[in-house]
């Protein structure tokens, strides 16, 4: 296999990982919530796409997919908001507790999907303009993968602009860093937290929508992404977007390279061990947040 193919495959895998992890980079990386239900939010996005397809495809044809990106975002965001208001809100600053509670939530959401859509997988028909692939320099690049790379760049840009170049983003970061003080500056921290969490969840929804292009849509869909997405965020360094980007790139490309030389199982285990080893050198991830304070 030539190097360009490996590179493209790695890049493609990275983009998928990043898309799946982007929401987590916000809810976990910035807000400190270990959201074990993140995978289930991805699932919500995927099922939303399925439902939207059923309703809109007859009318809009392939165009339904663009609606479903938006609606997946909104649906997952709505779930996120609901979760924030009922559960997460009480758990800020208690990361382990957030982990346990969201684990419970993930069980409930999985079962909910089973109750509503049945246990078997459902199918989403990808828009026809994304079928097939482009061959460039001898590398066959499927349009779906190119589309996902584009989508993740777009999401990144939006999130980055939002967090670092809007008032809301600044308020978000303030709340995350010191909730009480933010309130004392007139910031409605509860609302901000809620919206931020909804944003992170919504991004998971977009990931779910995009993943219908490549993978299955079923109640356990989210479980496949839990370890990978957390690794991406942790490897990059919690709290840094640039960290998550490089985390995804490293894991994606390393997985692909290993897989070329060995098997998928070995590659998977090897990458995990590699990340674990790497963290020994850089315990706070690639892009650590430095801080002078004790603890």
């Amino acid at each position: 296999m030539d190097i360009l193919t490996i590179l493209f495959n790695g890049l493609s895998l990275s983009s998928i990982l990043l898309l799946a992890a982007l929401g987590l980079a916000i809810t976990f990386g910035l807000m400190g919530i270990i959201n074990m239900a993140h995978g289930e939010f991805i699932m919500v996005g995927a099922y939303t796409t399925y439902v939207v397809q059923g309703i809109l495809m007859p009318a809009l044809g392939d165009g339904y997919f663009f609606c479903s990106i938006l609606l997946s975002f909104l649906a997952a965001a709505a779930f996120g908001m609901l979760l924030e208001v009922t559960v997460i809100r009480r758990l800020y600053g208690r990361p382990t507790d957030s982990l346990l509670a969201t684990w419970g939530v993930s069980l409930v959401l999985q079962q909910l999907a089973r109750s509503i859509f049945g246990a078997p997988n459902v199918n989403v028909v990808a828009p026809s303009f994304l079928g097939g692939s482009l061959t460039l320099l001898g590398v066959s690049m499927s349009y779906k993968r190119l589309f996902i790379i584009g989508l993740v760049l777009l999401c990144l840009l939006a999130v980055w602009a939002f967090l670092y170049h809007t008032n809301f983003g600044r308020k978000t970061r303030a709340c995350i860093q010191n909730r009480d003080m933010a309130q004392c500056l007139g910031i409605r921290s509860k609302r901000i937290d809620c919206l931020t969490f909804a944003l992170g969840s919504g991004l998971a929804g977009i990931a779910g929508c995009a993943l219908t292009l490549l993978g299955s849509i079923g109640p356990t869909l989210g479980q496949n992404y839990i370890v990978d997405t957390f690794m991406v965020v942790v490897l990059g360094g919690v709290g840094k977007l640039i960290g998550s980007i490089s985390g995804a790139l490293i894991i994606g490309i390393a997985s692909t390279v290993f897989e070329v030389g060995s098997t998928a199982s070995i590659a998977k285990a090897a990458v995990l061990f590699l990340v674990i080893l790497f963290l020994q050198k850089k315990p706070q991830g690639l892009f650590a947040l430095r801080s002078r304070s004790l603890d």
């Binding site: 970061r173 009480d180 004392c184 500056l185 007139g186 910031i187 921290s189 002078r292």
Partner: protein, 231 residues
């Protein structure tokens, strides 16, 4: 301006303030002093709504703050400089300042005046708040509270950890601001001389109660000092 009436505050089950009465008249600087652990910080936090205070009430310009969450209170025009500064450590100095403007909707406002008062803040605009030295953070915290031009400023030990020359500057700054803008100030201080020199009025606290209230004239000063030593 600010009126505290019969305020009782709790941390969990334990009552810390046993009925505080205190008033900050319009445009005046009022000092609140007392030994360690008597509840000064708790009083300020109660005004901001950060601790449980089921009994008593706080009025700002006659409006009861009782049912308001902290951010509402801030929007009523209270600026707060907490003990320990509470700078946002991962944000730049500039961003910390911008956040000070949230109270009035995040509109940009001229900060030149503040830069004059605290040149250090301007010098380090691009540095992360958490990397500043203790004293630098303190100055940033005051600047952050002032930037939105509040009606009432709550200062919790603003001289803690500040170099002597800057203490004087802070003192001057407080006085200047007070005179120029008519802002009212409630100042908690351990550094008695500093407090008494600035304040028009002084309250002494002990064990969750106000034990003395008087003006800071030369006669008052001695009396206050006595209370401080005796309590």
């Amino acid at each position: 301006m600010l009126e505290i009436k019969g305020l009782r505050s709790y941390y969990g089950e334990s009552e810390i303030l046993h009925g505080i009465d205190l008033a900050v008249p319009d445009g005046k600087i009022v000092a609140l002093v007392g030994r360690n652990g008597v509840g000064k910080t708790t009083t300020l936090k109660s005004v901001m709504g950060l601790v449980k205070a089921p009994e008593g009430d706080v009025f700002l310009d006659g409006v009861s703050l009782r049912r308001m969450p902290p951010y509402e209170r801030a929007r009523q025009g209270i600026g707060y400089v907490p003990q320990g500064r509470d700078i946002f450590p991962q944000m730049t100095v500039a961003e910390n300042l911008r956040l000070g403007l949230e109270v009035c909707g995040g509109r940009k406002q001229d900060a030149e005046e503040l830069y004059e008062l605290f040149p250090i803040v301007k010098k380090f605009l691009a540095r992360k708040g958490g990397d500043l030295s203790g004293g630098q953070q303190q100055q940033l915290a005051i600047a952050r509270a002032l930037i939105a031009r509040p009606k009432l400023l709550l200062l919790d030990e603003p001289t803690e950890g500040i170099q002597p020359s800057v203490i004087q500057e802070i003192g001057d700054a407080i006085r200047t601001i007070n005179q120029k803008t008519g802002i009212s100030i409630l100042l908690v201080e351990q550094y008695l001389d500093f407090a008494l020199e600035l304040a028009d009025d002084c309250y002494v606290m002990d064990k969750g109660r106000v034990v003395f209230h008087g003006a800071t004239g030369s006669s008052g000063k001695e009396e206050i000092q006595q209370y401080m030593l005796a309590s």
